[in-house]
Every structure is written in structure tokens, then in C-alpha cells.
Subunit: 218 residues, 2 copies
């Protein structure tokens, strides 16, 4: 028989369990997701689950970590494809807004995550998204672009505003329609941290675009 190394199949099983968990948690919510069902879906039993993740919460932690990492990576990609500095920070925030519209992110990371794992800043993953934003803020403070306040607080408020805006957008009747308004408001709010606020504020001009579009730099 194809003697596959043990560690390999184990890794694959972990992946499959996490994939199933993402699906179940996103669709039914953490509380309503049955571990029995979930494991059966990928041809395993709860035995495998408890062996790999300790308990249901452990699986949740792993899933949240994974999604969080993906989000941070995507935000970083977007930020890097933008003019560095202030526009990149804005782009990052907008990226979070856009990502938070995905049901998976919304349900797992924003709604159930804090309830199950506590505040994001204490997550095992240490919350990559927050970290990334904090780094960006640090750089912009050193840079003189932003006011020298507590960078942790600033990062926290920016991501908080962005993610909260996203929840609002998602809960609305026509997400596609209100999304641009949220983005505009976010951009405007963020200017509060600028060391020298741009003179002409023309927020609604130049059409707010998300995901890849040029952010108007002051």
C-alpha cells in the first residue's frame, strides 16, 4: 500500500476538519455547529477532533487564527499595491470593511470570535489584523503624517471603526449601496488622526472605490 507518512495524513485531517469547521461555523454559528456532524462530514469522528484541537473552542481558535491570517495577508497585499504611507493605511482599512462583508469573516471573526475567545487582542493569533494596522500607524507617526498619540489605541479605533462599519453595511438592506457611504465616512473619520488635516475635504468627489482603486491622496 502507499505507505504515506503518518504526519502527512494527520496534517491533511487537520486541514479537512478546519475546512469543515469554517463552513459549519459560518453557516450555523459556533453554538449551533455540531461537532458530530462536522467531523462526520469529512469522514472522521469526534475522536480526531479532540485529539487534534483539544476541544470545540480549540477548533474555533484555530479557525479564527487562520481566517485572521488570511485577512491580514490580503490587507497587506492591498496596502502594498497602493501608494505607501497614508493612502496605504486607508486602503487597509477599506480592505477590512470589504472583507468583513464576507459571511465567513463576519460570523466567525466578528460576531462569534469575541464571544468565544474573548477580546481579539488576547487571541492566540494575537490578531494579525490589529498588528498590521498598528505597524502601519507606527510608521506614519514616526513619519510625521499622524499625530503622536498611543499607536495601539489608534490602530484599535481604526480597525474598530472599519469593522463596525462593515457590520452595519452587512446588516443593511442593500449592502452594495451603502458600502460606498461607509467607506467615505471611514476615510473622513480617519483624517482625524492626521497631523495636518488636508485643506480641501472633498470626500464624496472622486467616487469612493474599494478594492484596488486609487485613493485620493491629499
Amino acid at each position: 500500500m502507499a505507505r504515506r507518512p503518518r504526519a502527512e495524513t494527520m496534517q491533511e485531517n487537520r486541514q479537512r476538519l478546519m475546512a469543515a469547521a469554517r463552513k459549519a461555523f459560518a453557516e450555523k454559528g459556533y453554538a449551533a455547529a455540531s461537532m458530530d456532524e462536522l467531523t462526520a462530514d469529512v469522514g472522521l469522528t469526534r475522536g480526531a477532533l479532540y485529539h487534534n484541537f483539544g476541544d470545540k473552542r480549540g477548533l474555533m481558535a484555530a479557525v479564527v487564527h487562520q481566517i485572521d491570517a488570511e485577512m491580514a495577508a490580503e490587507a497587506r497585499r492591498i496596502a502594498e499595491s497602493t501608494a505607501p504611507g497614508w493612502p496605504a493605511l486607508l486602503a487597509e482599512g477599506e480592505a477590512y470593511i470589504a472583507m468583513a462583508l464576507r459571511p465567513e469573516v463576519q460570523r466567525i471573526v466578528l460576531l462569534d470570535g469575541p464571544a468565544v475567545l474573548g477580546d481579539p487582542s488576547k487571541w492566540p493569533s494575537q490578531d494579525s489584523c490589529l498588528h498590521a494596522t498598528r505597524d502601519a500607524v507606527d510608521a506614519l507617526i514616526a513619519d510625521g503624517t499622524l499625530l503622536a498619540l498611543d499607536p495601539e489605541a489608534m490602530a484599535r479605533m481604526l480597525t474598530g471603526a472599519a469593522l463596525n462599519a462593515a457590520l452595519w453595511v452587512a446588516a443593511s438592506d442593500q449592502p452594495d449601496l451603502v458600502l460606498p457611504r461607509a467607506v467615505v465616512a471611514f476615510r473622513q473619520l480617519a483624517t482625524g488622526f492626521l497631523a495636518k488635516p488636508g485643506p480641501g475635504l472633498a470626500p464624496t468627489r472622486s467616487g469612493p472605490q474599494i478594492r484596488g482603486l486609487r485613493t485620493t491622496s491629499p
Copy 2:
């Protein structure tokens, strides 16, 4: 016997159940709170609970509604005891930050609430806090103090930033120490919505006050 009217004792039982629920939900979290224990604590059984609130979630909704209303009332009181207009809006936001430090508010409203009941904007209570902030924003837009963006989005982001900041403060090692920094950052961020940003930004001047106590500025 003292023939108390039925509606009266029923009302009292409801109150007692809710009081017990606030305690249990705050201390153990929604998921870990046992309805059997909770009802026994006030000398009742689950029968009373299901009769009055439908199910566990119904009880949670009632509790959240109650706390939310209390928060909104308190915020309003604070706002009214401040110079009307912009300062009042800031005071309101700061009040939310301070209130969110209370374990009850934090655990029930901020962490478990969204997971159990969904996004605050869809809560039965319609989220009084959000509503209050929105009204304040509306007035300040009409007033010309704030930029005329989507008021819903603005309110959402302000409360989002405030509450997120509070969670951050609460999760920190020395809440008392970082709270002032959060307040300063909040005040500064909020200026982003001002129609004409003040020239000299002296956020720490005039002492950010939380619940009546003067925060030490570093």
C-alpha cells in the same frame, strides 16, 4: 392572605429573573450560564422562565435591552450636563468608553450580545445607544458642525470606535492607566468628522473627563 394582584408578582418575578440573568451572564458568559441554576437562585424554576421569555435567547434579549437602555440614559444625562453640540457628542462617546469597562456591559452587550442576537442594529431594542448617537450626529450636521456624510455611518463608526477602544482598555493590564490615552485618541479621531477642524489641536487640554473624574494627562 395578602391578596397581591397577579400582574404584580409576575412583574416582580420577571425583574428577579432578569437580575439573576444579568449576574449569571456577566459572570459566566451566556453559553455557560445555566438556566436551571439561574432560576433556582431566585426561587423559581425554568417553567417561569420559558413562560415569561420564551427561551434562553429571549431572556438575553430582555437583559441586553435593559442594559442598553440604561447606557443610553446615562450617556444622555452626561451629554446634557455638557456644553451642547460638539462637546456633548464627545462626552457621549467618552461615556460609552467608560461604561464599557464595566464587566456587565462588556461581557453581555459587547461580547456575547452580537453573537447571540446578531448585529446591534437589528436588536429588538433597536440599540438605544446607537440611536442616541445618531440623533446627536443629525443635529450637528444640520448645525453645520459636522460634515454632511451618512449620519448612520458616522454614528456607527463613532460608537464602534468608542466601544472598541473600551474593549482594548479593559483587556489591558492597567485599565486605569490606558483609559486616558484611549479617550484622547477618541477625541482626536472624532475631529475627522468636523466640518472645519480646529486649528490648534489640544486634545488633552480641558481635561477629558470620564464619569466626573479628571483623567491625568501624561
